[in-house]
Amino acid sequence: MKTALILCALATSAFAGPPVLVRITPEALAKLQQGNPMAQLQKPAPSEAKITTPENQSILKQSMILHDGKNWTIVPKGAVVYLPDALKSRVDVKPVGKLLTFTDFITLNRNWITTNDVSFDQAAGNVPLSAASVAFWSKQDKIVIAVHQSGPISVRIAAEPQAITKR
């Protein structure tokens, strides 16, 4: 009974609690906006303020799409280092179906995709890929994706060292 009375008193007094404020006017807000602290700081000269943020970026446009008929995933352009003619229809197709992470996609499609670990220097084209590895790709009839630490990576193919010949 006592608790009920206290709750009742609280409920009644709740509506008379904090003061009700008047809605801010457009004029008052416009005045507040003049206090922007950025306006007080020194502005750079127009020639100094040039920054670069490319617009219209798209990870889809900057990637190759792999598709197995039901699922798809993306890899950076340049990560597909070997593409047999028979599997060209599975690369760079329209992305329809279920999108999977690269790891999930290759787990499902090991029968036609394989990976080749590369070092960062190999990816950058500073060090050529192992000739034995490259020779092995064509024997597997699988798409070969360059990976680094399990993630697909673009590869610049390094120029082969020029053979020294006698005149």
């Binding site: 003061p19 009700v20 809605r23 943020t53 490319p54 990870i59 993306i74």
Partner: protein, 339 residues
């Protein structure tokens, strides 16, 4: 080349990434060599970059891709380098709710910018001694409540300035800078970005970003009754027009005895609680007012909304009279016999 272990936090930066219809990708692009690497990621968490950070910087981008139809969204990006200054931006508002920082256009907020790695001394290249801070504002087009950060940041900034010292810089904004014909109705986003100054070798410069979502001030209208009205037997039908109610708000239509609303106890006539990620507008008819009158006299009705910023009127209160007691004047009746 120095190998730097970078912990890249890729939390769900947007409502996009919380849905199973979206898959996240973290892509690292080496600015010097152009090598592109997709970091294997889980939905949330942190991972160490396996690539060396080049002097010219590595660009980390957090993308989410919608499955069907396939569409990509750049949620965040950051340029990091072994010889680049580093920065973080934190935006603090009075509203603790929401998946991203949010505020109301008339409310204060602060932007905390941490900068590290700047050098001091004479003869140093300018790119190593200061960074550029930018403030961008962008209104929401009709029907939209999110914007592509790359698009916002590629526009001309509202303001820009240099930061030439390491440590924390705190900027206190008394209100949002978003513009509108009626500034109380402005809505959109404010983005802040810190850029490393270009020394001619890097193709991206953004090293930190932060954004705050800005909502308009709610307003309202009580239709069907006006100041000075006299209510006799039938209470007029009343409509409450509620506009731009804050994402988390409790809107009430209150009745007060007398002509004041502050310091007196009111009676709740109608309530409209709202909890969402966006504002809302609606029209509510009410017939409950009639049952709240206890006696004849002066009454005031008020439409108000309670948010994290306090309780505010949505429109001026309306004071009127209720007079229902029947007054019978004496009548003189002659019962004369005309026969």
């Amino acid at each position: 080349m120095k190998l730097v272990s970078l912990l890249l936090a890729f939390t769900s930066a947007s409502a996009f990434s919380q849905s199973s219809n979206f898959v996240n990708f973290v892509r690292q692009t080496q600015q010097g060599t152009g090598v592109v690497w997709d970091m294997p990621v889980a939905a949330t968490g942190a991972a160490a970059s396996a690539l060396a950070l080049e002097a010219k910087g590595s660009l980390f981008q957090l993308w989410t891709i919608q499955q069907s139809p396939a569409k990509d969204y750049l949620l965040d990006q950051k340029l990091v380098g072994a010889y680049l200054p580093t920065s973080d931006i934190r935006i603090v508002t009075l509203d603790p709710n929401g998946t991203i920082p949010r505020t109301r256009v008339d409310q204060p907020f602060s932007v905390e910018i941490n900068v590290d790695g700047l050098l001091s001394g004479s003869g140093l290249p300018i790119a190593s001694t200061q960074v550029l801070l930018e403030q961008h504002i962008a209104s929401y087009p009709a029907g939209l409540t999110s914007l592509n950060p790359t698009t916002v940041l590629s526009n001309t900034p509202l303001y820009s300035s240099y930061i030439a010292a390491n440590g924390k810089t705190v900027l206190k904004f008394p209100a949002s800078s978003l513009k509108a014909t009626d500034p109380t109705k402005a809505l959109g986003e404010e983005h802040f970005a810190v850029h490393a100054l270009s020394d001619g070798t890097i193709t991206q410069t953004q090293i930190a970003t932060g954004k705050v979502q800005v909502w308009p001030v709610a307003s309202g209208q009580i239709k069907g009754i006006a100041n000075g009205d006299l209510i006799r037997f039938q209470t007029p039908s009343i409509e409450l027009i509620l506009t731009d109610l804050y994402p988390r708000s409790d809107t009430t239509f209150m009745l007060y005895e007398g002509s004041s609303i502050n310091g007196v106890t009111g009676t709740l006539v109608k309530a409209f609680p709202w909890s969402s990620d966006t504002t809302t507008s609606t029209v509510i008819p009410t017939t409950e007012l009639d049952s709240k009158f206890t006696k004849d006299g002066t009454y005031t009705v008020a439409l108000m909304s309670t948010t994290v910023y306090g309780t505010e009127l949505l429109c001026p209160p309306i004071t009127f009279q209720v007079k229902r007691t029947l007054q019978v004047n004496a009548m003189q009746v002659n019962f004369s016999d005309n026969k």
